[in-house]
């Protein structure tokens, strides 16, 4: 979808056009859900974050400036801040992942089990990173944001983002692959 088209959908959404807004929801809700889920390690909190992100878009769409950022960056910024709020409300991280299931079409049960265990290890390792290192890795590795977009979401320079990424990946490498 071209940025112009998306900007038009946002503008129509700001005027109460539900059909236009639904197109935006259907395009962005899964990537945002994945981000919130990996950030929070909790499916219910992640769903709350996604819902609230779109409520904010609905009520504040008129504030979106397409010249300043892509819509996905703007939405990630909102979702990121909501995740941080959610962290602050929780006394400690929950590492439970009881609804985890992995789509491995055609894979054997054993392979699925192995992937699930590996996913659980990664989830725990990510959860143990400093929050800003985790955010940087999620935005660049999983969400496909460019370095400038990720830096914008985190409100840091690209140099600072690279420092967060390098430290985060070093820690993950040590924990997951057993080397520095």
């Amino acid at each position: 979808m071209e940025r112009d088209t998306e900007t038009d959908l946002v503008r129509r959404g700001a005027n109460g056009d539900r059909g236009a807004f639904r197109v935006l929801v259907e395009k962005h809700q899964r990537p945002l859900g994945a981000y919130a889920r990996r950030m929070l390690s909790d499916p219910h909190l992640a769903e709350d974050v996604v819902q609230e992100t779109f409520l904010r878009l609905w009520s504040q769409a008129a504030r979106y400036d397409s010249g300043a950022a892509r819509l996905t960056t703007w939405l990630h910024n909102i979702a990121h801040n909501l995740c941080i709020d959610s962290f602050r409300k929780r006394s400690r991280m929950s590492f439970t992942d009881d609804e985890s299931r992995f789509e491995a079409a055609g894979a054997s049960l054993e392979q699925e089990q192995q992937e699930r265990q590996q996913g659980d290890r990664v989830s725990s390792a990510l959860a143990r990173l400093a929050e800003r290192q985790r955010s940087a890795i999620l935005l660049c590795h999983y969400q496909g944001l460019s370095n400038r977009e990720a830096a914008r979401v985190l409100d840091v320079s690209v140099d600072a983002l690279e420092s967060l990424l390098a430290r985060g990946r070093r820690a993950l490498k040590k924990e997951l692959l057993g080397n520095d």
Binding site: L55, R56, G119, H141, N147, R169, R170
Partner: protein
């Protein structure tokens, strides 16, 4: 200019997939790599971590219907959302919304009473009160308040 240090830095930050490398240096990095076969091992190492990370694919469910159903429909609700953002896990929003008319009423009431006193209309109210309470007897006998 890309040298081995910068190449290592990029792998350390963005991993071994060129699609994730900064777009403005991607072509130069690939050229550097083609000229320096010795850096292949570094790339493979970065890719090993990428593969581990890619194994973490938590399920994400379609929330479209729930999101659309939760959208406020009226202009008033949208304006309320602006001032009092909705939160699915708290009760304070409906309480805050309910308090808005109360606060408006208090504000109007306070400003009206101030206007009456300020404009010297207190005497008019007092006279009306005397007329209404006259059947109960004169105020000096204290009958009004027994």
């Amino acid at each position: 200019m890309i040298d081995e240090n910068r190449y290592r830095e990029v792998l350390d930050c963005y991993g071994g997939d060129p699609a994730r490398w900064p777009a403005d240096v991607r072509a130069e990095l690939l050229e550097f790599e083609a000229r320096n076969q010795s850096v292949e091992a570094l790339r493979r190492e970065a890719q090993a971590l990428d593969s581990m990370l890619d194994a973490y694919r938590p399920p994400v469910f379609d929330q479209s219907e729930a999101i659309m159903a939760a959208l406020p429909s009226s202009l008033g609700e949208r304006q309320l959302d602006w001032f009092v953002p909705a939160s699915p896990v708290s009760l304070w929003r409906p309480l805050a919304a309910g308090a808005v008319p109360l606060l408006l009423g208090l504000a109007v009431g306070l400003s009206s009473s101030t206007e009456i006193v300020a404009s010297g209309e207190a005497g008019v109210w007092e006279a009306q009160e005397r007329v209404l309470l006259a059947p109960l007897g004169p105020a000096s006998e204290g009958a009004w308040y027994d």
